[in-house]
């Protein structure tokens, strides 16, 4: 029987994958993709517990999370455009204008 524990374990794996991607990839675009992976892990948890507790609040919250993820993607991709315009690169370690 598949219960919420399985989903929490899967979401844990997905979240850690996203975290490792955010920390170690050099390409800004791929870092944003890893961030989306982490959002997906959160949504999986919400849906699993919504089913487990027979409560629709989890699904409503997941809709809000998706909205915020879309907003974050728009802002992040705008940042990429600005970075390319400024430095002509998408490598994160070259975005060091504010480094002291």
């Amino acid at each position: 029987m598949i219960d919420a524990t399985h989903y929490v374990a899967l979401s844990l794996i997905l979240f850690c994958l996203g975290l490792v991607g955010v920390m170690m990839r050099r390409n800004f675009i791929t870092v944003l993709m890893s961030l989306e992976l982490m959002f997906n892990a959160v949504n999986l948890n919400l849906i699993a517990f919504s089913f487990r507790l027979s409560d629709l609040a989890g699904q409503v919250l997941a809709i809000f999370v998706i909205t915020v993820a879309a907003a974050e993607a728009a802002i992040g991709l705008g940042l990429i455009i600005a970075l390319v315009r400024l430095k002509d690169t998408v490598a994160l370690d070259e975005a060091d204008v504010m480094r002291g």
Binding site: M1, D3, A4, T5, H6, V8, A9, L10, L12, I13, L14, F15, C16, L17, L19, V20, M23, M24, R25, R26, I29, M33, S34, E36, L37, N40, N43, L44, I47, A48, F51, R52, L53, S54, L56, V60, A62, I63, T67, V68, A70, A71, E72, A73, A74, L77, G78, I80, I81, A82, V84, R85, L86, D88, T89, V90, A91, L92, D93, V97
Partner: protein, 192 residues
Amino acid sequence: MDFLITNFAEILFYVFAVLTVAGGIGVLAFKSPIHAALSLLFSFIMVAALFLLRHAELLAAVQVLVYGGGIMVLFLFVIMLVNVKDLKLEQVFLSGIAPLAIIGGVLLGVLIAFGLVFGVLASGHGDGTALRSVDGDEIGNIEAVGAVLYTKYLVPFEVVSVVLLVAMIGAIVFGRRSAGLEGAGGGGGKTS
């Protein structure tokens, strides 16, 4: 064959779970951003299938439409726009930090897994009927989510629309050509 029929839900879950994780690993491992984006799209659709298994039909549709349609097109559009091939990116990972990042991720995983084992193990089983009924009438998941969203969660729903508006204005401000970004860094802004 008998095993297949009795354990169908479990088999489906494991297949989709493995494919989701494979897509996630692809995002980390693929060198080209376009391959990473397609791998991410695959992972999104597998997550939508997992939503279906948990009786979240509306969320599965929203996942495919918003992630698979909107966000993925946005990513591909930006990859196309900045033309990553021309930007020299010979190094895939941040130098020096990659092993640390893997250790950190594994440590966090172990930590949460400990919390999982010794904390609330979410055993037991719900059924989907409460997720598709309003006031006891069984109608459907979309109607049920809508009824909750537009009554109990109306104020957060309106607030989240303001979030979207702010994000839209922010994206326009960042994308504007005369945002004062060009001269600031002295790093040779593109002129075209």
